[in-house]
């Protein structure tokens, strides 16, 4: 892969020049070269094994304030030249947009090396080792007699080299890796099955959780749901486990992007500078934490990554923007351009100081939310209604598992009603958060 890198850069730069000669006012060209390995094993045998290389070229052409996008997985020079010519022609069909245009070249840059995004150890792993990791993880989980079936274990790894070149003179390039190991399980007989999974995903192989640790967590998360009850419909405090805070943060992200704001597709439009949550709520987007999955030296507009405080002790400080959304809203880009939209870097709720155990101990009656089913999120209103699985809490202790209920509420009210934020923040995924306790949500059951 490495020896091809100069070719990628040359290709991107030459296409930028070619776009200009075709009549484009501005052009941005991204080229990436990836190698992917994925193995699924189930009940001790390989279910699927994938090794794939993929190269993609994406381009954005601006002519007379009109924009066209194009992409191709065929990087033959003839194909790409045709792609550029067609894109320039297609741009002419659109409506002029006064906000169209590339971001100005930034004076600041982030050193890709310092972000530690690439682990040569992943490239050095042979297929047998990778398959072995998946087999070992599943075997460790199946050793527990309470586990009655397996969805299988997966090991996946990726190496990607990306180049971005633009007519404003920006040229950036970096390599990144990531790998993941996980297992999904069932417990109980056919008519009373419960399921769950655990996985670890990291940029560096040495940071991956061990097969034994992953198996132990997956088993524990699965068997704790056995023999669930359905509770009566009631309003109670809900404690979100970190995996659940993660989707809540994902939903919040969708509500604070500049794109959602200018489309009026979020209930948080017009709330900049206002208090939208209580003082326990601080939310950060950070693209420059070394070694994290959400880190990159620059975004797809060529803007350097940075740390942005989105909510500071309850006050909405920033919308996350690419250059286009920022221009449209009269704001500054936050380095969150992702393809043609806005994406998160490491987007997380800052941890507090209490332990999750103490939060449960301080809850007289409530639901610990451990899994959800269904979508049920509406960014226009902030309304949430999802199928839920959890653990019922009585007098500060876990009493029994709960299933076939729903939880419902509103993100705005949740941000105001967060009563406690725990200290257990971990970056299992780029969008994440610690355990939180929400004062009240509706649990619908019988």
């Amino acid at each position: 892969m490495k020896k091809e890198a100069p070719t990628l850069r040359d290709l991107a730069e030459s296409l930028v020049v070619f776009a200009r000669t075709c009549g484009a006012d501005e052009a941005a060209v991204s080229v990436s070269d990836g190698y992917e390995f994925n193995v699924d094993v189930r009940r001790g045998r390989i279910e699927t094994l994938i090794e794939a290389g993929s190269r993609v070229c994406g381009l954005r052409i601006i002519k007379d304030k009109k924009t066209a996008f194009a992409s191709s997985s065929d990087l033959a020079p003839g194909t790409l030249k045709r792609l550029v010519r067609n894109a320039v022609r297609r741009a002419e069909l659109g409506n002029p947009d006064e906000y169209a245009g590339l971001a100005p070249l930034s004076k600041e840059t982030v050193d890709a090396e310092s972000l530690k995004l690439y682990d040569p150890a992943i490239a050095g792993l042979d297929s047998k080792t990778k398959i072995g990791l998946a087999l070992t993880t599943e075997r460790a989980a199946l050793r527990d007699k309470r586990i009655t079936n397996s969805y299988g274990a997966t090991f996946a790894s990726n190496e990607i080299r990306s180049v971005l070149a633009m007519t404003n003179g920006f040229v950036g390039e970096y390599a990144q890796t990531y790998c993941g190991l996980g297992v999904g399980l069932q417990a109980g007989d056919t008519d009373n099955r419960v399921e769950d999974s655990w996985s670890s995903s990291k940029r560096h192989f040495k940071d991956l959780e061990s097969p034994e640790a992953i198996a132990r967590k997956a088993v524990e998360r699965t068997v704790r749901q056995l023999k669930p009850r359905k509770v009566k419909t009631q309003n109670v405090p809900v404690i979100f486990e970190p995996t659940q805070t993660a989707w809540l943060m994902g939903f919040l992200f969708g509500c604070i992007t500049g794109t959602a704001v200018f489309r009026k597709a979020t209930f948080l439009e017009g709330k900049l500078g206002q208090r939208i949550g209580n003082r326990l709520v601080t939310v950060v987007d950070d693209g420059i934490i070394p070694g994290e999955l959400g880190s990159h030296p620059f975004d797809s507009d060529g803007q350097p990554s940075r740390r942005t405080v989105v909510i500071e002790r309850g006050v909405l400080k920033n919308y996350l923007c690419n250059h286009y959304a920022a221009r449209k809203l009269g704001l500054k880009s936050t380095g969150n351009a992702d393809g043609n939209g806005v994406g998160p870097n490491s987007f997380y709720l800052e941890p507090g100081t209490v332990s999750p155990k103490d939060i449960v101990a301080g809850t007289k009656r409530g639901l610990i939310l451990i899994r959800t089913l269904g979508h049920g999120l509406n960014s226009v209103t902030g309304d949430i209604s999802r199928g839920a699985f959890g653990l019922w809490v009585e007098d500060g202790e876990i009493a029994y598992p709960v299933s076939e209920v729903t939880i419902s509420g509103n993100l705005g009210k949740i941000l105001e009603g967060i009563e406690a934020v725990a200290s257990d923040l971990e970056f299992h995924s780029p969008v994440t958060g610690p355990t939180v306790k929400v004062a009240e949500m509706t649990v619908a059951g019988e």
Partner: protein, 342 residues
């Protein structure tokens, strides 16, 4: 571009409370060729057209959104003869405006009546997925040991038919080159069939049904649904509604999810309260949850008015998206949990 502009304008001018509109048009023409070492060589050409509109309404600082769309394996005459861009824009705007005055959804167990068409999502989630053969082969599906057994009310008969002309979920050959067949899944409450791809059918010694589908060449084929529906029954839809004293009417749905145990959800984007057999107040979004065998047994009435939902649906499984359609007549479920707040 004229089509997308027409839908946009229809939504924008529908009502002064419409604050923002997004209309989106896409089409594709996929040429494919499948060859295998058994001597198969087949070609197909698959068109796909889709026009959707999202409208956002605003009143006193409160916002709601509405969605409508259509398309399928059709040509552009569809937008003249079957569903006009104007109607797509208007329906999206109508739903958005209606929701401004909608009450919070109720919470708890109650009788449910499902509108025809959209509600096919229920069958897709509750039944279709768990009769995809890979889940039975792996014995993770609650249905794996239920072939020939009763799992629901005798009123319930379910098919998946990839051969319905011009539907989004239809195809001439599946992605492994197998000609598809209309497949009986549930007959009068009894499990009769599975959706098969080559791998599962070989391992299970089952008959191929032509349901091996892949998102594109870079993904492996797996058993998938195409056009899944519950067959029409005998009841007049008005009688079904009239039979419910107090309950929840599901007018439109926005998707759902199922796990292999049979627990499933679907999200209602617009509902109504039923009081004394009549629709009363419109209510906002809510998720409904149930367990499939339990709910299939609680289907008490099936209408004669089979309809199919919007031709815009996409189903996700193992990270692969494929186009699908669902259909359903008016249905009554005796009791199901509604996840509202009031």
């Amino acid at each position: 571009m004229a089509l997308v502009r027409e839908a946009y304008a229809a939504a924008q001018t529908f009502d002064k409370r419409i604050a923002k509109v997004k209309a989106h048009y896409s089409d594709s023409l996929k040429h494919m060729c499948i060859a295998n070492s058994e001597g198969l060589l087949v070609h197909d050409t698959r068109p796909m057209v889709k026009l959707v509109c999202v409208a956002i309404s605003e009143k006193n600082g409160k916002r709601e959104s509405g969605y409508w769309g259509g398309g399928g394996r059709v040509g552009l005459e569809y937008f003249r003869d079957v569903l006009t861009p104007r109607r797509i824009g208007e329906e999206a705007a109508r739903e958005a405006v209606l929701l401004l005055d909608a009450a919070d959804a109720p919470a708890g167990e109650m009788p449910i009546v499902l509108a025809p068409g959209h509600s096919g999502v229920l069958i897709h989630e509750a039944v279709g997925h768990l009769l995809e053969a890979d889940f039975s082969r792996k014995k993770t599906s609650v249905f794996w040991n239920k072939m020939g057994k009763r799992v629901g009310s005798p009123l319930v008969t379910i098919y998946d038919d990839p051969t319905i002309p011009s539907f989004r979920g239809s195809y001439n050959i599946d992605d492994e080159g197998t000609p598809p067949r209309k497949t009986l899944l549930i007959e009068k409450g009894v499990v009769r069939g599975l959706l098969q791809d080559k791998l599962s059918s070989r391992l299970m010694h089952g008959r191929l049904t032509g349901h091996g589908r892949r998102q594109d060449y870079s993904c492996a084929p797996i058993p998938r649904m195409a056009n899944t529906y519950i067959a029409a029954g005998d009841d007049a839809p008005e009688d079904i509604l009239r039979s419910v004293k107090k309950g929840f009417y599901v007018a439109s749905l926005s998707g759902g999810q199922v796990e292999d145990s049979g627990k499933f959800t679907f999200s209602v984007s617009l509902g109504y309260l039923i009081e004394d057999g009549k629709l009363t107040a419109p209510v906002k979004q809510a998720t409904l949850i149930g367990t499939n065998i339990d709910i299939l047994n609680k289907i008490g009435r099936v209408g004669s008015d089979l309809e199919f939902g919007l031709q815009t649906g996409t189903c996700s499984k193992d990270g692969q998206d494929v186009p699908v359609t669902d259909g359903c007549p008016t249905l009554r479920i005796e009791k199901m949990t509604v996840g509202g707040t009031s």
